[in-house]
């Protein structure tokens, strides 16, 4: 399926990209991360969390949304 990856804060800066579409056929967040690490090597040594449907996911979570967010450490307040 076609999914949109959104990069926030520091991650948008280092990937040079706020949002990109990709064709994705794997099933878990872990799979997705592998693909993203190949595409953007710089992500490997960055701390980030992944969210879909406005909730944080673990590596084992299945990808069910067509929009995935990569979130660097929070800095609100």
């Amino acid at each position: 399926m076609m999914i949109t990856i959104k990069y926030f804060g520091l991650l948008a800066e280092v990937t040079g990209c706020r949002s990109e579409k990709m064709n994705f056929s794997c099933t878990t967040i872990s799979d997705l991360k592998e693909i993203l690490f190949q595409k953007h090597k710089v992500l490997k040594n960055k701390k980030f969390k992944i969210a879909q449907h406005n909730e944080l996911n673990t590596d084992k979570t299945k990808v069910t949304s067509s929009e995935i967010a990569l979130l660097p450490p929070f800095a609100g307040g």
């Binding site: 959104k6 804060g9 800066e13 406005n54 979130l71 929070f74 609100g76």
Partner: protein, 147 residues
């Protein structure tokens, strides 16, 4: 549990003292309130490697953030006996000395507002996907991380 509707917590730029004053004034018709507690986050001119923070440029995963703010609100109303609760967070540039976070709780009794404000602020720091680019006076920057 009261069912509050999803609000947009974000405001463009710094939160002004006039906005805060107006917000307080609006509660003076609610005469069952005996105690208000207000938390304000202010951008610090931290010095990092001899460079001073001049501003923070805030961005957010706005949709997720508003959902998380909503969850925090609902949890706080459930945990504490509050009459009112308001949360505002800045997006975009906020200069050092300016206010970027405004949390406002009101209750009949003071005992409720102290733990409520701390709960809400800590939850915000922990759970809200907001990102802060600390802009130094020389226009270089680094990314802020909450501690």
């Amino acid at each position: 549990m009261k069912n509050h509707k999803l609000k947009n917590v974000f405001r463009e730029g710094a939160i002004t003292t006039e906005f805060i004053a107006n917000s307080i004034a609006k509660h003076q018709v609610k005469t069952s309130i005996g105690a208000h507690n207000i938390f304000l986050g202010q951008v610090r001119a931290d010095e990092i490697n001899a460079k001073k923070v001049a501003a923070i440029d805030y961005t957010a995963h706005e949709d997720m953030a508003n959902h998380k703010f909503h969850e925090i609100r609902e949890a706080a109303f459930l945990k504490f006996d509050l009459t009112c609760m308001h949360i505002y967070h800045s997006l975009g540039m906020v200069k050092s000395g300016e206010i970027c976070l405004f949390v406002f709780v009101s209750s009949k009794r003071r005992k409720e507002v102290f733990p409520a404000i701390e709960f809400i602020v800590e939850e915000i720091k922990l759970k809200i996907p907001v990102f802060g680019k600390e802009i130094f006076e020389d226009q270089t920057h680094q990314w802020k991380v909450n501690s």
